[in-house]
Every structure is written in structure tokens, then in C-alpha cells.
Symmetry: none
Subunit: 123 residues, 2 copies
DNA sequence: TCTGTGCGCTAAGTATACCAAGCATCTGCT
DNA sequence: AGCAGATGCTTGGTATACTTAGCGCACAGA
């Protein structure tokens, strides 16, 4: 496999690797140093930085922590957050908030949503 | 391997599976339906919901989109955002969302909040 | 010179995320 | 009764994320 083909295969992930490498160099860390802090192997870090592999979410988080970067911007760079959940209306919706509340059981969620819908005259 | 050992092995991920199953049932979707929308196989979704596997970040994102919830809250549930950027509850809080809803009267808001509080055991 | 220690990278293996095919069960229909 | 279609789950395999061992090169001292 040629280098060009590798580049194509890695696709959108190449920029993530470049991003990590840039941040690592900015922090003046060698691969082995960063790898140790992030608890991954240094060859794997090498492969990630060159775009050969898509690191899993927890590895991403671990690298982000090691570089003192927010995991969120890491995911954004990785193209894992983009989808237009455009934090205006959707975050304030009652149904959305109810569904996300971990203290409520499924039955309770359904009950509240049913009442809510009856109030606003939908359904 | 016993069920208990599986549970231990899956660790913190069990709650993520339960969360996904809850959201799926709330949306009245079968496993096959959700799997098709999220472009994953239905056996795999079954395994994820039972906590046997840790889905990768892009699968998580895909599931989140299919369920119309933000990828961010998905990652939070997965314990992948937890460290410093502890998501602020104000965006998702049920009471906050209820109070902001212009379609509800004051009485209706009070009713819903009363029910909500009784469910979560806060007075 | 030679020796040691750092670097990034390769090779080869293991672990696990993920898929296609199919099974067992239930429910409804005739 | 029997079939049809849905549900969630199991099995067995492939793809890929990730590791351990080690190579080759650079730059230090002795």
C-alpha cells in the first residue's frame, strides 16, 4: 500500500492526528512521554498521529487530559460532536430535559411527558 | 463466564446500555428500527444495551443522532466527558425547561414541577 | 572510536468492536 | 391447529484498535 493510499484510507482522521501532534509538540512532550501519561503505548500514539488509526473515545479523552485540553474540543476535532444539536432550543425543551434526567424511571418519564402533552394540546 | 462476572467486566458501561435502552423505549423503537437508523446491526445493539461492549465514539454519536439527543449528553452518560467539564445541569434541568416553556400556564407549570419533585423524592 | 540513551517507526501478535445468519419465543390471524 | 411477522438473543466470523518486542538513526559523553 502506497503512502497516498494510506492517506486516503485514513480519510478525515488525518487532521486529528496532526492536531494531536501539534498539541504534543506545543507541550514539549516526546511520544514516549505523552504515551506514558496517557497510558497508551508509544507506537500506537505514533500510528494515531499519522492517521493510521481512529482512537477510541476513552483513548481520546485520556490524551486530551494528558495534554490539558478539554475532551470536548478533542471530540470536536475528531468530528464526533458536530451534528447540529445547535444548543439553542433543543436544550431547553421540556421533553428533552425529562428524557435526560437520570433520576426518573422510564415509567415516570412517560407519565410526565403525557401530562405535559395534554397541557400544551398536542397528541 | 457468569453473569456477575460479565457485569463486573463491563463496569461503568452498564449504565450506558441501560440509558440507551431507556431512551430507545421512550422513543418507541424496536432494536431493529433503531439499529437501522443508527446504521449498526441489531445484535450489536442488543449487546451494547446489555453492557457487553463499549461502543466506539462514532457509534455513540450515530445512536445519539438516531435518538434525537445530543452527542454530548451521550458522551457524558458514557463517562467520557466527566473530568473537568462537568456538564452544567442548568441546560438540561427539567424545572428550568418547564419554567421557560411559554405554552404552559403558571398553574400547569406548578403541577408538573410538583409531580416531578415527588418522583425524584425532593420536596 | 565505542557505548549509552533519547527519538520515531515497523512488525507481529492479542483483544475487542462490530457484522451476517439464524434461533426461540410471542402474538395475532385464518 | 398452523402460519406469518415481530421481538430480543446466540453463534461464529471479520475488521480494527491496541500492545510488546525490537529496529535504525541521531546526538551526547568517555
Amino acid at each position: 500500500m502506497s503512502d497516498e493510499e494510506k492517506e486516503v484510507a485514513s480519510g478525515a482522521w488525518r487532521s486529528l492526528g496532526e492536531f494531536i501532534r501539534g498539541q504534543r509538540e506545543l507541550a514539549n512532550l516526546s511520544m514516549r512521554q505523552l504515551a506514558e501519561i496517557a497510558k497508551i503505548s508509544n507506537p500506537y500514539l505514533s500510528q494515531v498521529e499519522r492517521g493510521l488509526y481512529k482512537p477510541s473515545a476513552d483513548v481520546l479523552k485520556s490524551i486530551a487530559n494528558a495534554l490539558h485540553i478539554s475532551a470536548e474540543s478533542m471530540y470536536a476535532q475528531a468530528g464526533l460532536l458536530d451534528d447540529s444539536e445547535t444548543r439553542d432550543e433543543s436544550h431547553h425543551g421540556v421533553e428533552h430535559a425529562v428524557k435526560l434526567d437520570p433520576r426518573l424511571s422510564v415509567d415516570q418519564k412517560e407519565a410526565i411527558i403525557r401530562i405535559y402533552r395534554s397541557f400544551i394540546g398536542r397528541e
